[in-house]
Amino acid sequence: MAERLPPVDALLVGFGWTGAILGQELTDAGLNVLALERGAWRDTPTDFAPTFAQDELRYYFRHELFERLSHETLTVRNNIGQTALPMRQLGSFLPGSNVGGAGVHWNGQTWRFLPSDFVAHSHNLQRYGKLQQDMTIQDWGVSYDELEPHYDRFEYICGISGQAGNLRGAIQAGGNPFEGPRARPYPNPPMAMSYPPTLFAEAARSLGYKPFPQPSANMSQAYTNPLGVQLGPCTYCGFCEKFGCGNYSKATAQTTILPVLMRKPNFTLRTESEVLKINLDSTGKRAVSVTYVDAAGREYEQPADLIVLTAYILHNVRLLLLSGIGKPYDPVAGTGVVGRNYAYQITSSVNVFYDDKLLNPFIGAGAHGMLIDEFNGDNFDHSGLGFIGGGFIGIVQTGGRPIEMHATPEGTPKWGSAFKKAIARNYLRSTSVVTHGAVMSHRGNYLDLDPTYRDVYGRPLLRMTFDFTDNEHKMSDYLTDKATDLAKAMKPREIKVNKRQGSWDVVPYQTTHNTGGAVMGTDPSTSVVNRYLQSWDVSNLFVLGSGAFPQNPGYNPTGTVAALAYWAADAIRTRYLKAPGPLA
């Protein structure tokens, strides 16, 4: 039997990026807040110190910071005609575990979505007349203007390094001219640029594009955030993406919020406490508690007045399904909502090889690049192209870690003497132009519970049914063609084009940009949460994270994940706590 613990005002399930933000905001509102995190306590000096953080084998290839699949994984398939099988090894995406979540090992590429992204359905319908059949995109129910102050808040908490492109409607030279208007500049100037992004920017300008520096959560200079927490300048160590920063230079929960939040008297964290279920009262309309298991295998019941799911999209959706909250989506009938509109990101690249230029690819950082946005969202006319959406293109020099990054020219064998010679010749002289594209939601792409496979507790695993559709392939090919032109304009010896072909494959790493499944909206028949991320069915339950995205725009998600977290926290503070109940 589960031991029943004393109640708290607010309970956070998971303690990564969104958990830290909600913890800070709700304790500021005077609530007594408890966070339950399935993983262990983790911090810079003990877990990713600069004396051992730069270990490619341990962290990337042996997955030390990521989710342990022996404990929990999900099953995958491309369509309902296939039998889903477990993801036995990590590959395509890398969910986080432990305090700080995936935020510990993110790159820090911190974007705002375009104003038109939030009205993708009505905007595209209006401009192009009709949408592809079975595309299930919809409007978010929240506008860019409503989120602007919350984007701003996150950018200042993190100390984002960047160049504004649109200050209150005035386009700024050197920034992204396509971005929505921002109230004030980024808190820090852009990062210094290494050679490859600089060469890209020159080529882009020569073709008439407007390149700009990647907005980055890697510090371009020492910074003290509004909470009084200090970050140090990034040293361009090149072990950022998939690694922890030993240098307090990458904005994470640990380096921006936890030093303040952890010391508050009204905040408590329990680590290695995995939430198994949200318990409802007899009406099914109110969440009363969660059941969790600690490191010793003991079960507890933790009551709370307000429960916030901050466990990453995949775990949030699974907890909703396991707890029987909201109607599960049925792709055949097209009914139900939980698990509906799962989406992802589609990427491709063009390798660039020089003979006459030493590029030193190992000098890099997680969000250190020059990009163009001419082909993102609806920044270009899609008439006659047969697809909607887009993505950014550019060079983000994240580093040159040799097990992972050893590009070779077309036709090089994968091993043997010719392979060795090709690597020796090209390692210091190559880089890669990448495309990072949107994935629209589609009737056949969704999440539900697997009928066969179980986790260590005997509960069904999440099942992911996903494939890129015709829209994504056409869009990605279009972006890759543009990237190819840009790569040629860099005047290299040769290039190699790597299109994203065929079905989505769980093996190669792509991005940890999973979205949807608990989408936000204004209609309960097509969304799980309302525009404040509050469950339509259970009003004292909020569901955060990229699960709320109705489809996935062509940018990395976390800027918007965080803006939505501040937006939801604001609604809880200013409205919900005064009159608990449905906000919409």
């Binding site: 304790t27 399935r38 262990a40 911090d43 000096p45 003990t46 877990d47 110190a49 600069p50 730069q54 270990d55 084998l57 341990r58 042996r62 022996s70 404990h71 994984t73 995958v76 491309n78 039998t83 099988l85 993801m87 036995r88 090894q89 590959g91 432990n98 210094a192 290494s194 050679y195 040293t235 361009y236 160590c237 072990f239 030993g246 240098n247 936890l258 952890m262 010391r263 508050k264 329990r270 680590t271 290695e272 406490s273 600690d294 010793a296 295998g297 030493l358 190992f362 040799p402 050893h406 091993w415 043997g416 060795k420 010679k421 020796a424 390692y427 496979y453 494959d505 769980v506 093996v507």
Partner: protein, 255 residues
């Protein structure tokens, strides 16, 4: 909101689960953390000890015949040539041995529950074998098939051109081995060889940083700030590993 003079309270419950539900990290225990950023002296998480268990060139996992296979194979995957040492000279076989003897070999972090099915190509690794099992079975079965062919008693004894042909066939998934999947095995062997050539020397491979020197990767450098803007200039410092530079260490030690 943040200042409060009450004493720091951390209760640490060291509970070792006796075979019950497996905790997320088997060594740690649940903590209740209040009013603190907990920190304990001497708790820094250094590279995993298991992978360093065997020192020098003694094999911890591979039996003699298996070691002969791995040594011969890595020597063909990245050969010794006019550019310098190959994977064998860089210690990739020792690296693979230690990996197979440790957490990786046991597939400890992987989801290894049944039922088992072959699956689509896009569904990834679907064999029941751990890496250690797969190496054992594949090497035994490949050596048996080589013997059956009649040119030599085992893969390691073949002429290098024949070894290359065998590796190419494995890469293409041609040999139908009794239990091991040829292509799955080759993919793992190739990946592990590259790891043994380019990972930090603390894991037993990349001896004298031969892999890094070949390509010009400076290793575990902490700070490139002074070089970001020096476009096109050669980076002047020699490679460094987590254990320092080869020149700093005693004869014969790893790391």
């Amino acid at each position: 909101m943040t200042t409060d003079s009450a004493p720091v309270r951390i209760t640490r419950r060291r509970l070792l689960s006796a075979g019950a539900v497996l905790p997320v990290a088997a060594t740690a225990a649940s903590q209740l953390i209040r009013r603190d950023m907990p920190w304990q002296e001497g708790t820094a998480a250094e590279p995993t000890a298991a992978t360093q268990a065997s020192q020098g060139n003694q094999y911890a996992f591979l039996a003699a015949a298996e070691a002969a296979f791995v040594e011969a194979a890595v020597a063909r995957i990245i050969p010794h040539d006019e550019l310098g040492p190959g994977a064998l000279e860089a210690g990739a076989a020792v690296f693979i041995d230690r990996q197979l003897a440790g957490e990786f070999g046991r597939g400890e972090r992987w989801y290894m529950q049944g039922p088992w099915a072959k699956g689509e190509k896009t569904q990834g690794y679907q064999t029941r074998m751990t890496p250690a099992n797969l190496y054992r079975a594949a090497i035994r079965e490949i050596d048996a098939a080589v013997g059956h062919e009649g040119k030599a008693a085992s893969f390691a004894k073949l002429a290098v051109a024949e070894q290359d042909r065998w590796l190419k066939d494995l890469e293409d998934g041609k040999p139908q081995l009794p239990t091991a999947d040829a292509k799955t095995f080759f993919t793992m062997l190739l990946q592990n060889t590259l790891e043994g050539f380019w990972s930090d020397p603390v894991y037993g491979g990349n001896r004298d940083m031969a892999g890094w020197k070949l390509i010009g990767f400076p290793g575990a450098h902490y700070d490139y700030t002074a070089y970001v803007g020096k476009h096109g200039e050669a980076f002047p410092l020699p490679p460094t590993g987590l254990g320092g530079r080869p020149a700093w260490r005693k004869e014969g030690s790893n790391g």
